[in-house]
């Protein structure tokens, strides 16, 4: 006899395995990225010829630092969610799918960490 309720045995076993969580986060990060990426693209364009000192001054402005960190966090989160769907759609071999999903997740988190650390190093002047 099982002490697990019927709903507990069924949860997580559908084809999607996790309900709308992934789909919803893809939308939430997308909404956040609309203003953040517009700001970032025009910001980088404005400072593209400004030189080292001016770029450092821009990135270390507290508002700019926060927006940079948010933009990078959202960007890599959104990229992870999107690349996950692409891999799930096109990689059919279970082992290759598993390996590429893990690798992709490690790489996106690694890139996010490197990028955010770089921004903080510039902002904190070390």
């Amino acid at each position: 006899m099982s002490y697990r309720s019927n709903i507990k045995q069924a949860q997580g076993l559908g084809s999607a395995k996790e309900g709308v969580g992934h789909w919803w986060l893809q939308r939430v990060t997308a909404v956040a990225l609309v203003p953040l990426m517009l700001w970032l693209a025009f910001g980088i364009a404005r400072y593209s010829g400004a030189g080292y000192e001016a770029t450092v001054a821009w990135v270390s402005n507290p508002t700019t630092t926060v927006l940079w960190v948010l933009a990078l966090g959202m960007l890599f989160w959104h990229a992870k969610l999107g690349l996950q769907v692409v891999i799930e759609d096109y990689v059919h071999d279970e082992k290759a799918k598993f390996a590429s999903l893990i690798a992709m997740k490690f790489i996106t988190v690694l890139l996010a960490a490197i990028a955010i650390l770089a921004v903080l190093r510039v902002a904190l002047g070390s």
């Binding site: 364009a45 400072y47 990229a79 999107g82 692409v86």
Partner: protein
């Protein structure tokens, strides 16, 4: 049971490319391109954090002719994905699915992405940048 020689149902290649299907797959392709392109952003930020010399090197690479071509394409990929993403968000509310709206919003996305790309490059080039 013999299944090898059955006729297959028509697949993508039998259709003439249409705006809707091309824009659909382009959304995914631009997303993957931008993910790979984020490597340049990470590299550029690391160069900035490392100091003036490495930043000058990074800017020289990005500002070279080939660098500029790549950055221009990335800019368009970014704004295409951004604008078409807004189109997707609008669809998520259940609106704009009739044929006329789908084509209108598709053309609007292409125009908006092109305008934003040009605007960013006008800003970039007018401030003397790469």
């Amino acid at each position: 049971m013999q299944t090898d020689n059955r006729p297959l149902s028509p697949h993508l290649q039998v259709y003439k490319p249409q705006l809707t299907m091309v824009m659909s797959i382009s959304h995914r392709i631009s997303g993957v391109v931008l993910s790979v392109g984020s490597l340049i952003l990470v590299w550029w930020l690391s160069a900035l954090a490392a100091g003036p010399e490495s930043f000058a090197t990074a800017n020289a690479v990005v500002g070279s002719f080939i660098g500029k071509v790549f950055m221009f394409l990335f800019t368009f990929a970014l704004f295409y994905h951004l604008c078409n993403g807004i189109r997707h968000l609008a669809w998520d509310t259940g609106r704009g699915f009739d044929l006329d709206s789908v084509y209108k919003s598709g053309k609007l996305v292409l125009i908006a992405a092109a305008v934003l790309t040009v605007l960013v490059w006008v800003v970039g080039l007018s401030t003397g940048g790469a």
